[in-house]
């Protein structure tokens, strides 16, 4: 279904917003009605906006005592029926890893916006980085799959906020909006649509809330107060939530299903864009803010007559392996520029047969188009 603009939401049209502001508006547009968070640079503008915007749309806002409590409160609210989110950056994201695992295990739909700064640790709080890519994938213990999206513009901060909530509801899984400081603080024009697609939760209480018999592996989720006598636990549990902590078959079935419900739907979840790929000998694979510089470079090099193209990953997890493999087939070389020491590079190499070269920059600054122009040109002649 789609949701028309209701009271309190911004009217459709053009706006001049920062990425963080746009992400908050996207969340509101898709029906987010609960926010719990803790201040952290460079994500705080999301929380500050939600603090005054949520009451305007009838939602609930709370500033918690830390990031662990923030994600726990988000999970509690989600089970009370909320579309709930938090926003943070590296250090806070690290603190959230245990409740993130709980959300995975209990199949709790929620959204975390991680506006990445330069790490590790406190690092450079006001500077940019893309160092949390693998943390989003592997940060919590145990085997699991989540979804992570990578926006490159203020418009996409809005659009992907909407998409993140919908994917969270569709698959009952935490979704991470893996933004970078540069796009969080960037101001540019954005067009708000008159309506957005909204996936609503199936609150059917007659079927098991942790069931394994669903054809797509995603069971319904009633809320507290619905009279479902919900039994929610982070321990291994059967389809009704009863703890089965010594049953090998229940453990195997649950852990497998938690992964399969994401991996089996990669075609539905994964999204990429391609530019100038028709006859390209060299394929640049980029994501997030770096893709802006990379595209600028690629277009310029096309003007010079070089056979170079680009694929932009909008989804990072699950990794769009099939699209990268298909598009990478027969190319001479694949180039991966990243604002880290090589996190997506390895995933790309797994998908393609040709050599993969990477450009790493970890100085807390965005990679300038001029740098990529030179680097790609040298590898495309």
């Amino acid at each position: 279904m789609s949701r028309s603009r209701t009271e309190g939401l911004l009217p459709p049209g053009d706006y001049y917003l920062s990425g963080n502001e746009a992400a908050a508006e996207g969340a509101l547009a898709v029906g987010c009605d609960f926010y719990a968070g803790y201040p952290i640079t460079p994500s705080s503008e999301i929380m500050e906006r939600m603090a005054w915007r949520l009451p305007e749309v009838g939602g609930t806002f709370v500033q918690m005592e830390d990031e662990i409590g923030s994600l726990c409160a988000v999970i509690g609210a989600a089970w009370a029926g909320a579309k709930a989110m938090t926003a943070t950056s590296g250090p806070g994201f690290s603190l959230m890893m245990e409740p993130l695992g709980y959300a995975v295990m209990t199949e709790t739909p929620l959204v975390i916006m991680d506006v990445q700064r330069a790490g590790p640790c406190t690092g450079q709080a006001t500077r940019v980085g893309a160092g949390d890519i693998m943390q989003a994938r592997w940060g919590a213990h145990g085997d699991y799959q989540i979804i992570a999206l990578s926006p490159w513009s203020v418009q996409e901060m809005f659009d992907m906020a909407v998409q993140a909530f919908n994917l969270a509801e569709r698959f009952r899984v935490p979704v991470v909006l893996l933004a970078e400081e540069a796009v969080g603080h960037l101001r540019e024009r954005i067009t708000l649509p008159s309506e957005v697609t909204v996936i609503q939760r199936d609150r059917d209480k007659t079927r098991p809330p942790f069931g394994s018999e669903e054809p797509d592996g995603v069971p319904p989720m009633p809320a507290f107060g619905d009279g479902a006598d919900l039994l929610v636990t982070g321990s291994t549990h059967d389809e009704w939530g009863f703890r089965k902590t010594e049953d090998p078959e229940v453990q195997r079935r649950l852990v497998t299903r938690l992964s399969r419900k994401i991996l089996d739907h990669r075609a539905e979840i994964c999204s990429v864009e391609t530019y100038c790929m028709e006859d390209a000998q060299v394929m640049v694979v980029a994501y997030g803010f770096t893709a802006r510089s990379a595209l600028h470079a690629v277009r310029h090099l096309r003007g010079e007559g070089l056979e170079v193209g680009m694929m932009r990953l909008r989804t990072l997890w699950p990794f769009p392996e099939e699209a990268v493999a298909r598009m990478g087939e027969g190319r001479a070389r694949v180039l991966v520029p990243e604002m880290n020491l090589g996190q997506i590079q390895g995933e790309v190499q797994k998908a393609v047969d040709c050599p993969v070269e990477a450009y790493h920059q970890v100085n807390g600054e965005v990679i300038p188009p001029s740098v990529l122009l030179k680097w790609i040109r040298e590898r495309s002649l």
């Binding site: 918690m64 089970w79 107060g225």
Partner: protein, 265 residues
């Protein structure tokens, strides 16, 4: 558990998880009787617990919405659920280590926020489930698996801690005082705001056997002998008080009537 409380239990769960002599079974019964007498609308009652023996009191036993969370964060989970749906009668039931050690920050902040919820802290003065390690509530000198020479640290006075953080209702009773405990739980639920009840619940298995309280009956008797009222405490010297546990109410404001909370309204 007597038959009349069966309606509050899930049919699928028929066994107690608690050791012989554990106080948690008594707390479980007292809590259900308190709820039964108040005729709380069970479809609106949410039980939240953390990790540890006491977290098993509501989950999976109680036939109601139960949220069995990660270690230490029960109050934070409950905060989100209660804020989003204020109609939920929210009861947190967990242990001393869970609520006051790893989860201490959430506890004091929930008290400061004055969220309308009731927290029952089953205090067995030790980490029971993990094998008897020292807790932030273990008495000074007590032997545990991680204090083989006796606990060198002072324990928290949980009631003073939570009262100082701003809780509306704070009380402490032992499981050997079931009627007083039941009344306190009801008062906590009736309180419009944050209520905290520390429930002393002996652990013969992990605490008792290392501290000459191996026999469950002796453990209960010992607890009963140590409990003194606040009035009795006033007449004792500090050293006389040191071995005693003071029970009673440590914060109590005018609790609201039972509007919307059961038949006593």
């Amino acid at each position: 558990m007597s038959r009349d409380m069966n309606a509050y239990l899930r049919e699928e769960i028929q066994r107690t998880p608690f050791c012989p002599g554990c106080g948690h079974g008594i707390l479980m019964g007292v809590l259900l009787r308190a709820i039964d007498e108040m005729a709380l609308p069970m479809e609106r009652v949410l039980f939240v617990s953390g990790i540890g023996c006491a977290a098993w009191i509501p989950s999976p036993h109680f036939k109601a919405d139960t949220l069995h969370t990660i270690h230490g964060r029960a109050v934070a989970f409950a905060t989100g659920a209660k804020l989003y749906n204020p109609e939920l009668i929210t009861l947190v039931v967990s242990g001393d280590g869970d609520l006051s050690s790893i989860g201490g920050n959430h506890l004091i902040h929930a008290a400061r926020r004055d969220l309308d919820m009731t927290v029952l802290c089953a205090n067995n003065m030790i980490y029971g489930m993990t094998g008897g390690q020292v807790a932030s509530t273990t008495p000074e000198g007590a032997e545990t698996t991680t204090t083989p020479g006796g606990n060198p640290e002072r324990p928290f006075d949980l009631c003073r801690l939570v009262a100082a953080a701003g809780a509306r209702y704070v009380a402490r009773y032992g499981v050997v005082q079931p009627l007083l405990l039941k009344r306190a739980i009801q008062k906590g639920i009736r309180t419009r705001g944050f209520a905290f009840i520390e429930v002393l619940s002996p652990c013969p298995t992990q605490f008792g056997r290392r501290n000459r309280l191996r026999d469950p009956a002796e453990t209960m008797k010992s607890l009963k002998a140590r409990l003194i009222s606040q009035r009795q405490a006033k007449s004792l010297t500090e050293s006389e008080r040191a071995s005693r546990i003071v029970y009673g109410e440590f914060a109590s404001e005018d609790s609201d009537d039972l509007e919307g909370r059961g038949r006593d309204a």
